[in-house]
């Protein structure tokens, strides 16, 4: 069978002729998929941000010591921890709002040499370490952040921390996947001095085993706890999961609306073209051909809708990332999300979802179309026949 020619004559041409219904369905699918991808990106990035926040500067460490109420704590305890586990890394950090760019950054004061040696990064050759120590407000930013804001060495970043303005000097950029793009590194000593946090730490990262962790736990004061990073990630994920389900529920409703619009379009097309289908059947078209013509009709609309949805999703992603960042930061914990681009994997998933949804939406009316009998070109149709029995009921009630 010359199916492609039939498809061109009977499906593509109908799509062109039925401009209103075609546009409505495409927009419906596009909105559904757009919202889905936008919400997915926002929640995925929020979770990723949580994870990297917990993993921190050093992804090879597996424990961390924190104040149970989230406050900074006295650094004296570090000496005792170091005595029991050499692979421990003090960190002091704050969130800063870039004044001009309306973006949040994580400013981390770390023992740079110790941390990067532990990660086998040859910092002495690669980075301007001397200037980092010499410049009181010197920072190393990530390469992504550096490129994104078209920065140059010695540029000044104006940052608001606790409602006070600080000026950070960019001394170098670090090309690493270990850090989230909005992470900024300072020498811990300079950090404590510059942000007036003398003698305080935010946390201590530790690479150790369970036995030593138990030992450390025993001498920690009551305001401090040692936690396994995996447990923290799991807990934070659970917190975000409920938030994510709420957002996904909204996007699923949007997809359902798109699906319903598409279903309606194909269903109306079947009802309107009942005679045409009868003619085709009388000319010898089999049921399979009718099902395929109408299903492909729906899938084509779904395909175009999904492609538009991916573009729309990129725009929605931008705004929902901002909204999610604000909400999560207000409700749970401060996060900064700088990545909002749709990845090829997100696009592929959305396209597959769009095609699947449009297939489901169109296959039901397509089967309905295949049930139209050839002699319905001249007699009352199976559709009217099936619903005629309800007419009496409606008419009686109306009267």
């Amino acid at each position: 069978m010359k199916f492609l020619t039939l498809l061109r004559l009977l499906t593509i041409r109908n799509i062109k002729n039925e401009k209103f219904m075609t546009s409505l369905s495409i927009v419906g699918v596009a909105l559904g998929i757009g919202l889905f991808i936008g919400v997915k990106i926002a929640s995925d990035r929020a979770i990723a941000s949580f994870e990297s926040e917990i993993k921190g500067m050093n992804p090879k460490v597996n424990y961390e010591i924190l104040d149970i109420s989230g406050l900074d704590f006295d650094e004296k305890i570090y000496g005792d921890v170091l005595h029991r586990e050499e692979k421990s890394f003090p960190i002091v950090k704050v969130k800063g709002l870039l004044k001009d760019k309306k973006e949040t950054i994580d400013i981390n004061g770390i023992d740079i040499v110790k941390s990067l040696q532990f990660l086998h990064i040859d910092i002495k050759e690669s980075y301007e370490l001397e200037r980092l120590y010499r410049d009181f407000n010197g920072v190393i930013v990530t390469k992504k952040f550096f490129d994104k804001h078209a920065l140059h060495k010695n540029d000044i970043l104006t940052v608001l921390v606790y409602d006070r303005e600080y000026h950070l000097k960019v001394v170098d950029a670090m090309d690493t996947e270990l850090l989230t793009p909005n992470t900024v590194i300072m020498d811990i000593g300079n950090f404590q001095e510059y942000f007036k946090k003398y003698g305080f730490l935010t946390k201590i990262d530790i690479a150790t085993d369970e036995k030593k962790a138990e030992e450390i736990k025993k001498f920690l004061p009551s305001n401090l706890s040692i936690e396994k990073k995996d447990d923290l990630i799991r807990n934070q994920k659970a917190v975000v999961a409920s938030f994510r389900y709420n957002l996904q529920f909204v996007s699923l409703i949007a997809i359902l609306v798109g699906m319903f619009l598409l279903y309606n379009t194909i269903f109306i097309s079947v009802v309107k073209r009942r005679t045409e289908i009868g003619i085709l059947r009388s000319l010898g078209s089999d049921k399979k051909t009718i099902i395929m013509l109408f299903t492909i009709h729906g899938v084509l609309l779904g395909f175009v809708g999904s492609l538009l949805g991916i573009i729309l999703g990129q725009i929605i992603a931008y705004f929902s990332v901002i909204a999610v960042q604000k909400t999560v930061s207000t409700m749970y914990s401060a996060i900064s999300i700088s990545e909002y681009m749709v990845t090829p994997s997100d696009a592929a998933k959305s396209l597959i979802l769009g095609l699947l949804v449009s297939f489901v939406a169109s296959v039901i009316p397509s089967f309905e179309a295949s049930k139209i009998r050839p002699h319905e070109t001249s007699r009352e149709g199976s559709f009217e026949g099936r619903y005629r029995k309800y007419m009496k009921f409606f008419t009686r009630n109306y009267v």
């Binding site: 069978m1 020619t5 004559l9 010898g284 089999d286 051909t289």
Partner: protein, 214 residues
């Protein structure tokens, strides 16, 4: 050869055909006359494999088509039957050329030369790219005739082919049908309530209250 043995058909409780027995030889041109609701179109639908009888047998070239499943009936309609309807039943969104080509496409070919040849044979040269709504009733019926004959079917079923045409155009259409089927010795069953049109056939049957008689 077409043979109907005691064929009955009901629509709900109404008996439309009441035990029809009929024999049509290959190459016969038969008219079936009857008033509206007499069951003549139903009879044509059964012979054309568009519907199934509730009782009896319809045997075409030795095969009982009343026992066919949906796939076999579809194949039977596609390969063996050409239908000409009263209201032409052309697909509105495609051109004359494409309407005539549809049965070929369903048969797995797209023989454009053959379509052009049939367009010429029904006198519609130059109208290939027009849509059905741009044509007169007579021209639309010519398209329907070309569409019915393009697959070279053994049986041509015409359900009131001149019913929506004026008498002059009706006669022209009938002459066209006769010219085209005579050459190939096709079996033609024509349903009409018009006495003058029925005279074109070489055998006339009448149908009344679901019963057929010569």
């Amino acid at each position: 050869m077409i043979k109907l043995i005691d064929v009955e058909k009901y629509y709900a409780e109404t008996r439309v055909l009441a035990g029809i027995t009929l024999e049509v030889r290959k190459g016969d041109f038969i008219s079936i006359m009857g008033s509206s609701g007499s069951g003549k179109s139903t009879l044509l639908n059964l012979i054309g494999g568009m519907d199934r009888p509730d009782r009896g047998k319809i045997i075409v070239d030795g095969d009982d088509i009343s026992a066919y499943d949906d796939d076999l009936l579809t194949l039977y309609r596609r390969k063996k039957v050409g239908f000409i309807f009263q209201f032409f039943n052309l697909l509105p969104n495609i051109t004359v050329f494409e309407n005539i080509q549809i049965p070929l496409l369903l048969n797995g070919t797209a023989d454009e030369a053959k379509v052009t040849e049939y367009i010429r044979s029904v006198g519609l040269e130059g109208k290939e790219h027009t849509h059905p709504y741009q044509l007169s009733g007579g021209q639309q019926q010519r398209v329907a005739i070309a569409r019915a004959l393009i697959t070279d079917p053994d049986i041509v079923l015409a359900d009131e082919p001149t019913g929506s045409l004026d008498s002059q155009t009706g006669n022209i259409i009938m002459e066209l049908i006769i010219n085209l089927v005579e050459k190939t010795k096709k079996t033609v069953l024509l349903v009409t309530h018009d006495h003058a049109i029925a005279q074109f056939a070489n055998k006339i049957f009448r149908i009344k209250d679901g019963v057929i008689f010569p």
